[in-house]
Each structure stands twice: as C-alpha cells, then as structure tokens.
C-alpha cells in the first residue's frame, strides 16, 4: 500500500476519534453546569484545557462564556480541533484514501459530514445541545461500526486502528492531566462534594461513569479513578488498553512486512511500563510528571510510525 494511504487512514481515524472525544468533553462540561449550584462560566476553562485549545480560544474570544466555549469546541472551523474541523478533516482524509475504504465505511463518513455540516451550520441553542452531542457520538459510532463490520483485517485496518488508539491515549492522558490535582492523595482521602463532582466529570469525559461503578463497586476514590483510566486493561479508553492494541496492530505489520522498526521497540516499552506499573508508584513519581512524560512518548511513537512506514517523503 502507498505510504500516503497509510497516512490518510491514520489521520482519518485520529480525527474521527477526536471529534467524538471533544463531544464527550462538552457533554461532561454541560453536565457540571447543570448539576452544580452556583456553577460559573469559569468551569469551561478546564474543558478548553482538556481539548488543548485554551490559548487558541483566548485569541478569538477575549471573554470566557459557556456559549462561546461550546461554539468554539463544536463548530468553529478556525479551531482545528473543533468537532466540525475534525469531521471535515476526517472526511477529507477519507476522500483521499477512498479506494482503501469499503463502500460502507466511506458512506458512513460522508453521511456524517453531510449531516453534521447541516447541524453545525448556525450558532447553537442550548436546548439543542444534548441531541446534537448524541448525534455526533452516534455518527462516529456508525463510522466505527461500518469499519469493523466490513474492512479486511490487513495493513489498511491496522494503520487505521493505530490512529484511533494513539489519538485516544493522547486524549485520556490530557483529560487526566488537566485535573491531576484533584486526584492527588494528599488533597483528599475522602471525597468532598466538590471532589465527587470533579471526579465524576473526569469519568464522564471518557464515558466511564457507569463502568467505573461496575469495576470498583461504585465508591468514588481518586486513586481508583487514576488506576481505572491509566492501568485498567479492561477499560477501552485507558492508556493500558490503548497500548495493548497499538502493540498488537504494530506486531501485525511487523509479521506481514517481515520487518521490525524503532516504533515497535518504543511501543513495547510503553506497554510494559503500563503493565508493570502500579498506581502507588505513579503517584510517587508524580501524576502530572507521569502524564507529561506519557504524552511526549506517545507523540514520539506517532512520529516513528510516520517515518518508519513512509507516510511522507
């Protein structure tokens, strides 16, 4: 397959994953503003930060308001990480690699673009947001479903999956890092009402507020939340899960192509550190330092895959 095709698939699935993650972040933000008495627009700082666009937001909007933040995150195409930008870029990449996609996958992507372009054409009303966020998640789910149900399990498939998981790992680690201080054991052993709210927002941002309950018997504790999102291999948005997948996708490429690259070593090293690690150790190193280091290594792996498989000349 062409290096450019691998690149197109990788980015198509990074953007689709990102679109869905941004929708979740907005969802969690809305939830907080609904449930917390005396909530303020300031709460959106954290959401913008998690999306990695806080500084960029400030260059467009001098003031922070909930309505502007939501607009910026969902539909502003000057924001490269807005849902609309992600869908647009995801689809552009899909068009570029159209011959590598099944008809179902392409049509699900194209229809998501047609639908969301229409829904995000004008400024949004607060009352429409819950439905809109559902539609975004639904559309991304359809793309993923069509992809899973119809694509051959070959190199095309594996490059697409690697894009999904690199993006997801990046996203989960950012969400945690923005709120790392509320997870530190020194701050609070027993959650106050404020802690509980913050913790729940983190879990909601990764659609994990229910599954957390199943795994840890419903008791919200900071160390368990960190454990769940970083080390728990059963949790599909945890760093450990993402790296299980990345390693197996990369191994497929190594077996098929008969060549192991630097990226394979890097991915295996990250995976084994997540596998061996305990949350107590991570807290010892410092949660923030751990996450910062993780994001850097995740980016480094992405760069190694890009060069190793000749995405560009």
């Amino acid at each position: 397959m062409l290096g450019r095709t691998a690149n197109g698939l990788y980015w198509m699935f990074r953007y689709i994953e990102r679109a869905e993650n941004i929708a979740r972040l907005v969802d969690a933000g809305l939830r907080v503003s609904l449930t917390r008495a005396g909530s303020s627009d300031e709460d959106w700082h954290g959401v913008l930060e998690s999306a990695g666009v806080r500084e960029a937001y400030a260059t467009v909007h001098p003031q922070l308001t909930a309505a502007d933040a939501i607009d910026y995150l969902l539909r502003d195409t000057t924001n490269p990480s807005s849902v609309m930008s992600c869908i647009e870029w995801g689809r552009n990449n899909a068009r570029m690699v159209r011959t590598a996609l099944t008809r179902e996958t392409w049509e699900a992507t194209n229809e998501a673009w047609i639908d969301l372009k229409a829904r995000l054409a004008n400024r949004l009303k607060a009352a429409d947001l819950p439905e809109l966020i559902d539609v975004i998640k639904h559309r991304c789910g359809l793309i993923r479903g069509a992809f899973h149900g119809s694509m051959l399990r070959n190199d095309l498939y594996n490059f697409s999956r690697i894009g999904t998981f690199i993006e997801r790992a990046d996203n989960t680690s950012r969400i945690l890092d923005v709120k790392y201080y509320v997870l530190l054991p020194s701050v609070s052993q027993v959650g106050s009402a404020l802690d509980n709210m913050q913790w729940e927002q983190i879990l909601r941002s990764v659609s994990a507020h229910r599954s957390y309950g199943w795994v840890y018997d419903g008791d919200l504790q900071s160390a368990n939340i960190a454990d769940f999102l970083i080390l728990k291999i059963q949790m599909p948005r945890s760093l450990a899960y993402c790296y299980e997948k990345i390693v197996s996708n990369l191994d497929y490429l190594a077996d098929t192509y008969g060549e192991r690259l630097k990226a394979h070593e890097t991915a295996a090293a990250i995976r084994s550190s997540l596998k061996r690690g305990s949350i107590a150790e991570i807290m010892d190193i410092g949660l923030h330092e751990f996450l910062e280091d993780f994001v850097t290594r995740n980016n480094q792996l992405s760069a190694e895959i890009t060069t190793g498989y000749r995405f560009y000349e």
């Binding site: 450019r4 159209r98 194209n110």
Partner: protein, 469 residues
C-alpha cells in the same frame, strides 16, 4: 422544431422507446417524483460530486440525474460505432504521422504552422513511438444528432476525456431504482468498462515489463473537479490511485512510495494534463507531476496513457480538418460527419462570422467546458457586440459553427415530461483493437431551450441504453 428521439411530432413513441413509453404511461407521477429524490440521495450519499472552479461555497456539486433513459437502437448504434472506430483509428494514425514523417503536411492537406505553432504539439514527442504505437488509449467522441439519420461529431476528446464514471453510476442507479425496466428491454452492458480499461492498459505495458504489469491512476488530488472519477476508476480496476508526490524516478523507473519502500509502475493512466506531467520538461512550477518521467518514458520504461502530445489531434483548430484527416489515413470518406466549421483565421470566414454572429456558435480554439463561447441566437445584443470585439482582435483564436438543432429527449419534470437538448459521449478504448462501450454519457441541457449541456453550466445526465436488436 428539433428532432425528438422519443416521440414523433404526432406524439407517438419511436421504435426504441416503445416498451419504455408503455411502462412510463402506467407509472404514477408521485412515485416517479420520489424516485428522482431517491436517485439524488444515492448520488449524494456516495459522494458522486464534481467541483465547480471559482465557487468557494459550493465546492462540491451533484450533477443532476434525469430518470428517463436515452434509448438508441442496435441498428443506429452499429452505424455510429463504425464511424467512431474509423475516426479513432485516423486520430492515432494522424498522431503517429505528425510526430514522425509528417506526410499529411508534405501532401499539403494541413498547414505546417497549424501544427508546429500549436501549444498542444509537443516537440518532445518527435520521433518517439509509444508502446504498441498507441497514442490515444481512451477517447470520448462527442456526438450530436439533428435528425433520424443525421449524426455529427462535435469534438474528439483525445487527451483525458472525463465522465465515464457517470455513465457507470447512472446505469447502476437505474438498475437499482427500476429493475423491471431491464427485463422489459434488452440493454447492452456497460459494466465491463473498468475491466476492459485495465486489460487495455495492461496490454500496452512497455516491452521490458516482466510479469503482470503494474497499473496506476495518477490524479491531481481531492480538490480536482474529477477526483471522484479518478478514485472510482482506480477502485473499480483494483489499481493504486497515486498523486505526483507518491512517485519518484529511481534507477530509470517510475516508482511509488509504499509503506515497505519504492515499487515500480509499468502503466500510468494519468488524469493530469501534459503541462503538469513533468516539471523538468514542461511547466517547472508543476507540483502535480513527476520530475523526470518524460526521460523514463522516452527510454521505454513506462507507458503513459494517453500519450503526451495527443492534444494536437483534438484541438479545435485541427477539428475543421478532420474530414481530410480521416480520408488521408483510412482511404475512405468519413462515415460520421463533421459540423461545418469556419476558421476565423481566414479573412473570408471571419467576415462571414462577424456578419452572421447571431446565427452561429463561436468557440475558443483552446477552450473547454463550455467556457469562452458564444451561442449567437440566445446571446444578448451586448454579449454579441463584446464578443465580436474579442473575435476581431484575435481571429485565429476562434472557430464558428452553425447553431445545430440538437435533438431532444424528454426529461422528467414535476408536470410530466418535457423535451430537452442532448449530446452523447461514447467511450472508446484503443489497444491492438478498438473497443467501444455501447452507449456512453448522455448530457442534457436542463434549462428549457438551452443548447449548453456542460455540467459546469447547468447540464445534467441520463442513462444511455443501446438495445440488443
């Protein structure tokens, strides 16, 4: 009164349309309106779009599709196909001659400066014989009809004719929406086109090619107006869709960058114009091409389809000489007529054209897509005056033709059916033999009375049936 292909002036269906007409008369209008919307949804969902240059907002448009097929009898088609084959063979013979001995010039049939001063003539091709001696692998011959037995060739598209994906998708859509029509009528297949195209391209691989030839389609990328077609054809043929940035000349071969290294290509079906093909030979600012590909080509290590320099054969200035060209190389009178053409470079013709501007269609010699032309009878007085000035300033840039009473075929409108003007572009594949796909793309001017069928100017398309008979 234009010739209507479906109905006689008395309102009775002509032979090829008898079955269809009967079926149509039994249909409920509301059902057909719904089907028209279904068709549009299929096209939109599939992303069968084209880009209109200069429209930033509407960067992707659908070509309107009309649900009433255009039907041609087997007898009519056989006649057309013979004429097209003769013409395509003549085009290839002409190109071979022009780039070698130039006998047609020596014989005084075509003025030398018309060839050698033409920008479509590529000196780089002089003395070079492409693999298999084929210059135009894929041709789209534009044909118009004015009466029962009157067909004219309007244009020979011998560079990179587009639209074949619409021919295929239109058929696919019709079969999905109205399967019963295909049991009522025996319609000749068009679905084999991608397979035939691949065979045809592979059979012209360079002589040094060992094993199964590697074919690729070269596209300018997703922002090109015909990108959908490029990806469609690559997909249907099962070959790679490449961009210039994927390709490099390494060790005298054109190679594409894969995830496992560089791999050689044997046949390149390029949908990039000559000018942009090789920045080392042609436009140095081209980012769409492959530096050095012309050297590989001339060394006989890659086949480029269509060959560079074929544009000299479909140039509008050459068009008026086509009857002589056909006769010169085939030794027979052309089976298909040319539209009478005034070359404005000739003073007598220019005077005639200026005097009769209101009756003629005037075209730019190098124009395409329906741009830069004047349709005299429908133009305003101001448009005519302005055009006359441009014409007088640079007469050699223009040719003029009578306004033909193009045939009509009904389209489906909310009130029922209404006649609209059409043309036809059959697709021809040339290798050691000539294959013509039965039918082609029918373009239809959707505006009442309009003669401009181009999709960029409000034209639509129809499925085109050639019946088995």
């Amino acid at each position: 009164m234009a010739f209507d292909e479906m109905l006689t002036p008395e309102g009775l269906p002509r032979d090829p349309y008898k079955q269809y007409h009967q079926w149509y008369s039994s249909q409920d209008a509301a059902h057909l309106i719904r089907k028209t919307q279904d068709a549009e949804n299929i096209f939109r969902k599939t992303g069968i779009t084209f880009a209109v240059y200069g429209h930033a907002d509407s960067s992707e448009k659908l070509i309107p599709f009309d649900i009433i097929p255009r039907i041609i009898s087997g007898r009519e088609w056989r006649k057309l196909a013979q004429g097209i084959e003769q013409r395509v063979l003549a085009l290839n013979a002409f190109l071979d001659d022009i780039y070698h001995k130039q006998e047609i010039i020596k014989a005084g049939r075509i003025p030398r400066e018309l060839i050698e001063k033409n920008t479509a003539f590529l000196p780089e091709m002089i003395g070079f014989k492409p693999p298999g001696g084929v210059y135009t692998h894929i041709v789209g011959t534009d044909i118009v009809r004015t009466g029962e037995d009157q067909f004219f060739v309007l244009e020979d598209n011998a560079r990179t004719p587009s639209g074949v994906s619409y021919m295929l998708e239109n058929r696919e859509t019709m079969m999905q929406m109205f399967p019963e029509l295909f049991t009522l009528n025996k319609v000749q297949r068009v679905e084999d086109y991608p397979r035939l195209l691949r065979q045809s391209l592979a059979s012209l691989a360079p002589p040094g090619c060992r094993g199964r030839p590697r074919v690729a389609v070269l596209t300018p990328g997703i922002y090109n107006s015909a990108y959908y077609e490029h990806s469609f054809l690559a997909d249907q043929m099962g070959v790679e869709l490449v961009e210039g940035s994927d390709l490099r000349v390494i060790d005298g071969r054109v190679k594409m960058r894969t995830t496992q290294g560089y791999e050689a290509i044997d046949v390149l079906y390029r949908r990039v114009d000559d000018d942009f093909l090789d920045p080392l030979t042609f436009r140095p600012d081209s980012a769409l091409g492959i530096p050095g590909i012309m050297d590989v080509y001339r060394a006989g290590n890659i086949t480029i389809a269509n060959a560079p320099g074929t544009g000299i054969s479909d140039d509008k200035a050459i068009y008026s000489y086509m009857p002589e060209i056909v006769e010169f190389y085939t030794g027979r009178k052309p089976l298909l007529e040319n539209v009478p053409t005034w070359r404005c470079s000739e003073p007598d013709s220019l005077r005639y054209v200026l005097d009769h501007i209101g009756e003629l269609v005037i075209k730019e010699v190098h124009g395409s897509g329906g741009y830069g032309m004047l349709v005299g009878p429908t133009a305003s007085k101001k448009e005519r005056t302005e055009f006359a000035e441009k014409l007088a300033a640079k007469p050699a840039n223009y040719i003029a033709q009578p306004t033909l009473a193009l045939s009509t075929v009904p389209i489906f409108v909310n009130k029922g059916i209404a006649p609209r003007h059409v043309d036809l572009r059959p697709y021809v594949l040339v290798s050691d033999k000539v294959k013509i796909i039965p039918g082609g793309l029918t373009r239809v001017a959707l505006k009442e009375g309009s003669l401009v069928v181009n999709s960029s100017q409000g034209g639509g398309t129809k499925d085109t049936w050639v019946l088995e008979d």
